[in-house]
């Protein structure tokens, strides 16, 4: 579904050139859930933006659904770390924004999407809040709205950039479980960036570990724990903990003999 071949990204920053990504070869199968972990500034967001077509790679090729990526695609949705809701729009019309922007949808189509929006809002426990404005909701609720928005057009691919990192532990667990349910139901392909090793293990079919700047593929770890997984009562705690430990070691360990680049630039 997603194919990255020898992808690299170099930024011409104010303080010199920054190599954000180097030699990324990654193949994500249809319906697969891949999580990306790595130190802050290692290029995770950049990688997602490349797949989303928000940024052309400086080297290598990016393909989605067998076609080279030239710009944002209709069947790919992006979810950000922050809710990114338009403050003057109600919950419902925020969810409907992607439909509204896509001029190809007729009135009948719109009505169907509106039903779908209500369905999604119900799914994430926001029924009754359709007419509220974003500032009337908590951060967790706003992020749920954002999740509904990224699901409204039944995307084939969802790119998620630390979507739950600003939430409290409980909400986060809830939303992770919801996401798994949605994913199993819709068989969406998901690339999910996170700082939390546990979250990465809990959600993923495969975890991709990136090295610190420049970001390279350090390791790809398969996770064979049966779904649905949970950190709650019927916990897969032991399995998750075992793999987490392994990933932790991978993240912490310096690559042998590697000299850190001189032109290294502080994160923005």
């Amino acid at each position: 579904m997603i194919r990255l071949d020898g992808v690299g990204q170099v930024f011409d920053g104010r303080e010199g050139r920054v190599t954000a990504l180097e030699k990324i070869d990654l193949h994500v199968r249809g319906g697969e859930f891949v999580t990306l972990i790595g130190r802050s500034g290692c290029g995770k967001s950049t990688l997602l933006r490349l797949i989303a077509g928000l940024l052309p790679p400086t080297s290598g090729a990016v393909q989605v659904a067998g076609e080279p990526v030239t710009g944002p695609r209709r069947d790919v949705s992006f979810m950000f770390q922050r809710p990114a809701l338009l403050p003057w729009r109600s919950v419902l019309s925020n969810v409907m924004l992607p439909v509204e922007i896509d001029k190809g949808t007729g009135d009948r189509g719109k009505a169907a999407y509106r039903d779908r929006a209500h369905q999604l809002l119900e799914l994430v426990g926001l029924q009754g809040f359709e007419r509220r404005l974003p500032h009337e909701l908590s951060g967790g609720m706003q992020q749920r709205v954002s999740l509904c928005r990224s699901l409204i057009r039944d995307p084939q691919v969802m790119l998620m950039d630390e979507p739950f990192s600003a939430l409290d532990a409980l909400t986060r667990t809830e939303l992770s479980e919801e996401l798994q349910r949605i994913k199993m139901e819709l068989s969406t392909t998901i690339v999910f960036v996170t700082h939390s090793i546990e979250e990465a293990v809990l959600l993923a079919d495969r975890v991709v570990v990136l090295t610190p700047r420049p970001g390279r593929m350090r390791e790809v770890v398969d996770i064979d724990i049966p779904r649905p997984r949970s950190l709650g009562q019927n916990a897969h705690l032991t399995e998750v903990a075992a793999i987490s430990g392994q990933l932790h070691a991978l993240l912490a360990e310096k690559e042998s003999g590697e000299v850190r680049p001189v032109d290294e630039v502080r994160p923005r």
């Binding site: 928000l54 695609r73 992006f78 950000f80 990114a84 338009l86 924004l97 922007i101 896509d102």
Partner: protein, 264 residues
Amino acid sequence: MTRRTMPRRTWLTDSPVAAVVLPIIGLAVAIGLWWGATIAFSIQPYLLPSPWDVVVKFFEQPGYLLQETGTSLLETIEGFLLAIVIGVPIALVIVRSVVLERLVYPLLLMVNSIPKVAIAPLLVIWMGFGQWPKVVMVLLMCFFPIVISTAQGMKSTPTELVELMRSLNASRAQEFFKLRLRYAMPQIFTGFKVAISLAVIGSVISEFVGATKGLGYVIQQSGASADTTLAFAAITLLSVMSIVLFYALVLLEHWLLPWAREKR
């Protein structure tokens, strides 16, 4: 010791009734002090008339004074609207092009820095004694804050929202109308609110020179005949006009931008 970082919320801060009553009390106290001073120091009316004198003066010729108020009001509103019609598009253009911004900004600054009183006579020479020099003066007064605040507002769009629109494949027009302009509205309104008070000042200045109508003219005439009380009546009408216009904008904003209310 604990410090309160948030202002305490009470009936006085939250009730809509208090929102109306408090300004009235503030005004009443100020007028009371004024009145008290005129009595306590037995100040001559030609130096400082008492509030009562001013009210009496108004009712000696209410029709005439209201008519002059109407003249000034019309100039103010016309000039203000013209400033919006010209200023907002200029701001939008400036924001889109760095080159144009660099070309135009110093010019705008220069025009704004001219003392407006100094060009009032020139406007009369250029445009005659009619309404135009007045409207143009109002325009010159409120043009700058409108341009600046609109440009500022258009630049304040959060990058994450821009990125969102991009990821949804929004066209430039959609990004502009559905995001940037909407996001700028509260700041644009801030500019309007600054501008409307300046607009009133502009109309008075322009009526000092080559005018036969308007509250500015009344003030000037009353100066010539040492009728301080009449001047005060006109000034009072001016400030009432200014306040009414300001709150009209506040109400309009409240109604148009309900989402911006809770930003505090």
